[in-house]
C-alpha cells in the first residue's frame, strides 16, 4: 500500500529540467526586527530526501516553520507543486498534502494515541483512516500496543514516532521532519531513520529533514543543504557533503553520533 502517489520510475532525482515540488526563493523571515533567514534558496524535488543541517540557532527550524506560514516570510516566495503558498494560512498549507512533524513533537498529551492519529487524519475527513492506521501500526509496532494510552505517557522515542505517525495519517506528498532524532537513544534514532528511508523508497514520499545529527542525516539524504546564521552556505549530494572537509570539521568531528 502506498500512502503517496506512485513515483515515476526511472526519473533521475534533482533533474534540473523537472520542476521542484517545493521551491524556496530569496526567503527572508524576521522575528520582530531581528532577521532570522537572510534570503534562503532551496529546492526539494519529488521523491527526494533533502536534509538541512546546521548548528543551533542557524535558522533551520525557522525555515521549516516559514514553509508552513508561521512565521510568514517577509520577502521571497515559497512555491509548492507550482502554487505560491507564501501568503497562505498554515491550515490551508497543511491541506495541500504537506505534513509536518514539528520541533518538540507537539503531540496532544492528554489525548490518547488513537485520538492523536485521528487528529492527523482530520484533513481528509478520515476517509482512509482504517487503512492508514494499519499502515502506521506496521511502521511503528510500539504505537499499536499503546493506542489507548495517553500521548503524554509515552516515552520520548514513542512520542517522536507518534508525531511522525500523526503526520503520515494525512497521506502527505511532502513530509517535513524537524529533528526527529532529538534527545533519543542511538538505537531509536536508527529505527526512525530506517523508517524515513522506507517511506521514501517504498511509498515514494518526498521528505525534507531538518537535523543536527549531520552524519545520519547526510548518509540518508539524496541531497543536503548547510545553513549558517540564516544563510545556506553549501549544498550538494549527501555523499559530497559528508566528504567535504569544512562540513566534517564543523559538524562531524568527534565521531558520528
Amino acid at each position: 500500500m502506498s500512502m503517496a502517489g506512485p513515483t515515476p520510475a526511472g526519473t533521475t532525482l534533482s533533474d534540473p529540467a523537472r520542476k521542484p515540488l517545493l521551491s524556496v526563493r530569496g526567503v527572508k523571515t524576521y522575528y520582530g526586527n531581528i532577521i532570522a533567514l537572510k534570503g534562503v534558496d532551496m529546492d526539494v524535488h519529488e521523491g527526494e530526501i533533502v536534509t538541512l543541517i546546521g548548528a543551533n540557532g542557524a535558522g533551520k527550524s525557522t525555515l521549516m516553520m516559514t514553509i508552513f506560514g508561521n512565521p510568514r516570510a517577509r520577502e521571497g516566495t515559497i512555491t509548492y507543486a507550482g502554487r505560491d503558498i507564501t501568503q497562505l494560512p498554515t491550515h490551508q498549507i497543511a491541506q495541500l498534502s504537506i505534513a509536518q512533524s514539528p520541533e518538540g513533537r507537539r503531540i496532544f498529551g492528554r489525548m490518547s494515541v488513537f485520538e492523536n492519529l485521528q487528529m492527523g487524519a482530520s484533513i481528509n475527513k478520515m476517509a482512509h483512516f482504517d487503512q492508514d492506521l494499519e499502515r502506521v501500526c506496521t511502521l511503528f509496532p510500539r504505537l499499536k500496543e499503546r493506542l489507548q494510552q495517553r500521548g503524554g505517557t509515552l516515552s520520548g522515542g514513542e512520542q517522536q514516532m507518534l508525531a511522525i505517525a500523526r503526520a503520515l495519517m494525512s497521506r502527505p506528498k511532502l513530509l517535513l521532519l524537524d529533528e526527529p532524532s532529538l534527545g533519543l537513544a542511538p538505537l531509536i534514532v536508527k529505527q526512525i531513520f530506517a523508517i524515513i528511508k522506507e517511506l521514501n523508497e517504498q511509498d515514494g514520499m518526498t521528505i525534507f529533514l531538518v537535523e543536527q545529527n549531520a552524519y545520519h542525516a547526510l548518509r540518508l539524504a539524496h541531497r543536503g543543504y548547510v545553513m549558517v546564521t540564516g544563510n545556506i552556505t553549501m549544498s550538494g549530494t549527501g555523499r559530497e557533503l559528508l566528504e567535504n572537509p569544512q562540513v566534517r570539521a564543523a559538524y562531524l568531528e568527534g565521531g558520528h553520533h
Binding site: 508552513f68 508561521n70 494560512p89 498554515t90 491550515h91 490551508q92 497543511a94 491541506q95 505534513a99 509536518q100 514539528p102 507537539r106 503531540i107 496532544f108 498529551g109 492528554r110 489525548m111 490518547s112 488513537f114 485520538e115 485521528q118 487528529m119 492527523g120 482530520s122 484533513i123 475527513k125 478520515m126 500496543e145 499503546r146 493506542l147 489507548q148 494510552q149 495517553r150 503524554g152 505517557t153 516515552s155 500523526r166 494525512s170
Partner: protein
C-alpha cells in the same frame, strides 16, 4: 514543605519511614506559632459595658484552636510520609510496560455513580417529598435543587469553552445575562411564550459568543482571561446604563411565568391543576421548573458528549493541548475557537432564559463578576473537561454553603457564643484551598478518551505533564 520526614523522598533515596519524633517536633512548632498568633487575635474579646471596654480572656478557645493546628499538622506529616513511602517503593511495571492502571476510586464511582446520580436527580422531588413529609416542607429543597441544576448547566456550558477548548473565559455570565434579558424583553414586549424565546435566547447568546470570539482569537491564557472579564463587565454596564431598553438598575419585573406547554400554573379553571383534575398547589410550578432545568442540563450534557466524539470536539481538545500542532494538521483554529465560544454561549443563554422565567424578575445585579467566578470555580474544582466532575463541583460549590448552615454541633465545641453561620464561608474557603492542594487538577481529573478500543484503560493524571496555556 521543609518537614524533615519528607525531604528524603525528594532525592529519591531509600524508602522513608515515618519519623515520629521529627513530625512531633514540627507539629509542636506549628502549635506554638498558632498560640503566638492567637494571642492578639483570639485570646481576648473586648466587651463594652457602658463607656468602658473590658477584655474577657478566652483561653479555652485558644487551647482548642492550638490543638486543632497541632493535630492537623501531625496528620499532614503522616499523610506525606505514607505518600513518600508509596512513591519510593519501586513499581516493577512502571512506565516500561503497558500501563494497566487500576481503575481509580473516581472511575469506580463514575461506572455505577452516573446512573445513581441520574436516578437521584430524576426522583429528587419525590424523595424530598417523602423525607420532608409534605409539599410545603420540601419547597426549600426543591428550590435548592433548581439552583444547583442551573449551575450544573452553566458549568457544563462553560466546560465546553474552558474545559474542552482550553479558552479561559472569565466573562461567561455575559451570555447568561444575554439569555435572561432576551427572554425578559421578548416576552414583556412582544408577548412571546417561553418555548419560543428559549431557542431565540440561545441563538442571541451564541451570536454574542461569536462577537466576543473575534477580537480574542489571537489571545491565550491570562490575556484572554482579562479580555473576557472586561467583556462580562461591559455587558453588565450596558444593561445598567441603557435605561430605555433594559430599565437600568431597576431591572425588568413581571416577566411571564413558565406554562406547562400553554397551561398556566394557576388555580383558575384553565390552569394545569384543573386540566389534569388534580388539586392546585403552588409547588406544582416549582416541580415543573425543576424538571425543566434538569432536561435543559441533560440536553447540554448530551450535546457536549456527542460533540466530543465528532471532529469538532476532537479539534477543541487538540486546540487546548497545542494550537500550533493543530494548525499544522490543517485545523482551522479560527472556526474551531468560534464554534466553542458560540456553543458554550448558547447553553449560557438557555440557562439565562430559564433564570428569567424562574425568577420573574431580572436586574443587572444578578450578572456580576462573582457569578462568572463561581461558574469558573465549578469547572476548575470539578475537573476541567469532565462532565461528572463539573456536576459534582456544582453540587459542592452551590449546595455546600447551604449545608454548612446546619453546623449547630460546632457550638458544642466552641462554646455557646459561637455562631457557626458566621464561619460558614471561612470553612468553605478552607475546604476549597485544601481541595486545590490535594487534587490540584480538580475532583475528577481523569480524562476519558472519546473512543474506546476493545477495553478502556485510564491513566492517572499524575503521569501526564500539565498542558500548555
Amino acid at each position: 514543605m521543609t518537614a524533615p520526614s519528607t525531604i528524603a523522598a525528594d532525592d529519591g533515596s531509600a524508602p522513608v519511614r515515618f519519623d515520629l519524633v521529627a513530625a512531633l517536633k514540627d507539629s509542636l512548632k506549628a502549635g506554638a506559632i498558632a498560640f503566638g498568633l492567637s494571642i492578639p487575635i483570639l485570646a481576648f474579646k473586648t466587651e463594652q459595658s457602658g463607656g468602658d471596654i473590658f477584655l474577657r480572656p478566652r483561653w479555652g478557645l485558644v487551647a482548642v484552636f492550638v490543638a486543632i493546628i497541632f493535630g492537623v499538622r501531625l496528620l499532614q506529616h503522616a499523610f506525606h510520609a505514607t505518600k513518600a513511602y508509596r512513591l519510593a517503593t519501586p513499581d516493577a511495571h512502571q512506565a516500561t510496560e503497558f500501563v494497566h492502571a487500576e481503575p481509580s476510586a473516581f472511575q469506580k464511582v463514575s461506572r455505577f455513580g452516573i446512573p445513581f446520580f441520574l436516578g437521584i436527580a430524576i426522583s429528587f422531588p419525590f424523595l424530598i417529598y417523602l423525607i420532608q413529609g409534605g409539599l410545603d416542607q420540601s419547597r426549600y429543597w426543591v428550590d435548592l435543587g433548581i439552583l444547583i441544576l442551573t449551575y450544573v448547566m452553566l458549568g457544563w456550558g462553560l466546560n465546553i469553552v474552558v474545559g474542552l477548548a482550553g479558552l479561559l473565559d472569565l466573562g461567561y455570565v455575559a451570555f447568561y445575562a444575554v439569555g435572561a434579558y432576551s427572554y425578559a424583553l421578548l416576552s414583556t414586549t412582544f408577548g412571546l411564550s417561553f418555548w419560543v424565546c428559549l431557542p431565540l435566547a440561545g441563538i442571541l447568546a451564541a451570536f454574542w459568543g461569536i462577537i466576543l470570539g473575534f477580537p480574542v482569537l489571537r489571545l491565550r491564557g491570562d490575556y484572554l482571561a482579562i479580555v473576557t472579564l472586561a467583556f462580562g463587565e461591559i455587558v453588565r454596564l450596558v444593561l445598567i446604563n441603557w435605561t430605555d431598553l433594559t430599565n437600568g438598575g431597576a431591572g425588568i419585573s413581571s416577566i411571564p411565568r413558565a406554562t406547562f406547554f400553554g397551561l398556566p400554573f394557576s388555580s383558575g379553571e384553565d390552569g394545569f391543576a384543573a386540566f389534569f383534575g388534580i388539586e392546585y398547589h403552588g409547588m406544582q410550578r416549582m416541580i415543573f421548573l425543576y424538571y425543566l432545568i434538569l432536561a435543559l442540563a441533560l440536553l447540554t450534557n448530551f450535546v457536549t458528549m456527542r460533540l466530543r466524539k465528532l471532529p469538532v470536539g476532537r479539534a477543541w481538545e487538540a486546540l487546548r493541548e497545542d494550537e500550533i500542532a493543530c494548525r499544522s494538521l490543517g485545523i482551522n483554529t479560527t472556526n474551531t475557537k468560534l464554534t466553542a465560544f458560540a456553543i458554550g454561549a448558547m447553553f449560557g443563554g438557555f440557562a439565562g432564559s430559564f433564570f428569567a422565567v424562574r425568577q420573574g424578575f431580572v436586574s443587572p445585579e444578578s450578572f456580576n463578576f462573582l457569578e462568572s467566578a463561581i461558574i469558573l470555580a465549578i469547572v476548575v474544582l470539578g475537573g476541567m473537561g469532565s462532565q461528572i466532575g463539573v456536576a459534582i463541583g456544582a453540587v459542592v460549590l452551590v449546595g455546600g454553603p447551604e449545608i454548612l448552615r446546619n453546623l449547630g454541633f460546632l457550638s458544642a465545641v466552641f462554646g455557646e457564643s459561637f455562631d457557626p453561620n458566621e464561619y460558614r464561608l471561612l470553612l468553605f474557603g478552607m475546604g476549597m484551598v485544601a481541595m486545590m492542594v490535594w487534587r490540584p487538577r480538580g475532583l475528577i481529573s481523569e480524562r476519558q478518551p472519546s473512543v474506546f478500543l476493545k477495553e478502556s484503560k485510564a491513566i492517572s493524571s499524575s503521569h501526564v505533564k500539565e498542558g500548555h496555556g
